[in-house]
């Protein structure tokens, strides 16, 4: 069985930052493996640990910079990696889930995996839609926001995490794309041995053949206005908690 994991690098913005044009200035950004993808990767690696015939391949859209993140994924147990890039992509904003899915669909079509695991969303743009768009493009079954799954002969049994502490039990035909929710497992740290091995694992760069462009244009980026008029209690813990206790008592709490 082949499992493809989509691995995205996300940009985290500092608490204070400057915007120039429609971008946050580079000095205020730091990059990391997307939190949701950590769980998707862990789920894939666990499938491989239990069954030697499982191959885990990661797929990433990104410039050379992201290879550090990809190596981390390889160090955690993926067998090999595919990076999709073309310098022209640097001018795109990646706010269009269909566009991103098309780039990944080419990898899916070439690799023909049985299962694709993708994070529910990315921490920076949070589209929450790429996995399902990908499934629709390649004609796979899918399930969004999965927090438990079990693979059977021709299907995968999933639990989807709905809002409000309710889970839906669903059966999905394979091949399928599952978008993986945080908390499904406990992602591992890369071991030193894993980090060494990762250096020699294959990382292939492919350029996309789908035409570029998107009907979605980023026209403005701004810092949301803070509506805060928080009253901050000042002083020692004893003083601040005394003030807070008085406030709570006025509201009938703890009396």
């Amino acid at each position: 069985m082949k499992v493809l994991v989509t691995v995205t690098e996300v940009a985290n913005a500092d608490d204070e930052f400057e915007i120039s044009g429609t971008e946050i200035e580079e000095t205020y950004l730091s990059y990391d493996l997307n939190e949701w993808d950590e769980y998707a990767l862990e789920a894939a690696v666990r499938l491989g640990e239990n069954d030697d015939s499982v191959e885990v391949v990661t797929a990433t859209v990104g410039p050379e910079r992201v290879e550090e993140t990809i190596r981390t994924a390889l160090a955690k147990g993926a067998d090999r990696a595919v990076r999709v890039w073309d310098d022209e992509l640097a001018d795109e904003t990646m706010l269009d889930p269909s566009r991103k899915a098309k780039l990944l669909a080419e990898v899916v079509e070439a690799e023909e995996p049985d299962l694709v695991l993708s994070g529910v969303q990315s921490g920076d743009v949070a589209l929450g839609a790429t996995g399902v768009a990908l499934a629709a493009q390649v004609g796979f079954g899918w399930a969004a926001v999965v927090n438990q799954f079990e693979i059977e002969e021709e299907s995968v049994q999933v639990h989807r995490e709905l809002e409000g502490g309710v889970e839906e039990r669903t059966s999905v035909e394979l091949p399928a794309v599952l978008t993986i929710q945080t908390g499904i497992n406990e992602p591992r740290y890369a071991s030193l041995r894993g980090i060494r091995q990762a250096q020699s694992k294959p990382l292939e760069v492919r350029s996309p053949s789908v035409p570029g462009g998107s009907p979605l244009a980023l026209t403005d980026l701004a810092v949301p206005e803070s509506e805060s008029d928080t009253e901050i209690f000042e002083g020692s813990a004893e003083e601040t908690t005394a003030e807070l206790a008085t406030l709570l008592e006025e509201k009938g709490v703890g009396t």
Binding site: A13, I19, A133, A135, G165, V166, L218, I232, L244, L248
Partner: protein
């Protein structure tokens, strides 16, 4: 093409609140395009749902009587066909777990762009959608350079439609290809122990990542005991398994509306804040003054929670 199609959301026999907000957002779009506001009710007791959704501003309600619960393959086909039949320019879906399970597929099948998690929309000569980036630290305006689009809206950003409407209700005979239905929903499970419902609590003491260690949860429990409150948590605490899932507050957990909400060591990510907006008074205890929780809080103590929480407990003993 100028109509707007809102797809109502329901689960286990009840319309979900986001649907009423979709009606308001959908009406805004319809007013801007000069088209009619259509509502799709797919699966479940569709007649009953249609009567509930017949509110001010709705022109037509289309019922698709097919199955009981949400199935994304059925939804994808029915919504694609309806959008085409009513000549909709825009399809408005809730930015929810189920909304995001079919909206991307509808957009793919129609060949329309999809913009998710809208917090505001406006139409000049083009549709523009405001959505957050970088965990709510920045707000982007996305212009849609196309004549039509699928938009998912964030719950709670639009008011709920009220008043009784006078919409036409008509069944829509969707042609569902069973061979294309690749999923089967077999049931639901309530998670957690179920002994406490945090959405009913008057006072919540809520704990987040700042608590650092599982054994420190006890500090928060002691405070809750001292003031007669219920303990809840932000997502990371539940992901780590330190508290059961039914204690989770936020977009992916429960929406709460207590008289007093005390957020301890919670940074206040948008997904969390979305679940506490209905609280009467929000109090934050967090040593980082730039934490976004202070944008939502009415009162705050910017100090080490490991000093503040025991000291506060002591005030009530």
């Amino acid at each position: 093409m100028s109509g707007v199609l809102v797809v109502a959301e329901h689960r286990r026999g009840e319309i979900r609140d986001v649907s009423y907000a979709q009606l308001v957002a959908g009406r805004e779009l319809a007013d801007a395009t000069g088209g009619e506001l259509h509502v799709a009710v797919v699966s479940g007791p569709v007649e009953e749902f249609a009567a509930d959704l017949d509110r001010g501003g709705v022109d037509r309600i289309h019922t698709v009587d097919c199955g009981e619960e949400f199935n994304h393959d059925v939804y994808t086909q029915a919504v694609e066909q309806l959008a085409t039949a009513v000549e909709a320019s825009y399809v408005v879906v809730g930015n929810t777990v189920n909304g995001l399970d079919y909206a991307p597929a509808v957009a793919e099948r129609l060949g329309w762009p999809l913009v998710t998690d809208a917090v505001d929309i406006r139409i000049d000569d083009r549709l523009s959608v405001v959505r957050e980036l970088y965990g709510g630290k920045a707000e982007a305006t996305v212009r849609v350079d196309a004549d039509s689009a699928v938009v998912t809206i964030r719950p709670g950003e639009w008011p709920a439609a009220g008043d009784t409407g006078d919409a036409t209700v008509e069944p829509f005979d969707a042609d569902i290809d069973e061979a294309a239905v690749k999923t089967a929903v077999s049931g639901f499970e309530e998670v957690g122990t179920g002994d406490v419902d945090i959405s009913d609590a008057d006072v919540l003491v809520s704990v987040g990542r700042g608590i650092e260690d599982e054994e420190n949860i006890e500090l928060v429990q002691e405070l809750a005991d001292a003031i007669g409150a219920t303990v809840s948590a932000s997502r990371p605490i539940v992901d780590k398994g330190w508290l059961p899932a039914d204690r989770q507050v936020g977009q992916s957990g429960k929406t709460v509306s207590p008289d007093v909400y005390i957020a301890i060591g919670i940074s206040g990510a948008v997904q969390h804040v979305a679940g506490i907006k209905g609280s009467e008074t929000i109090i934050a205890i967090n040593d980082d003054p730039s934490a976004p929780i202070y944008d939502a809080a009415d009162y705050g103590i910017v100090d080490d929670l490991f000093e503040v929480v025991p000291a506060l407990t002591e005030q009530f003993e």
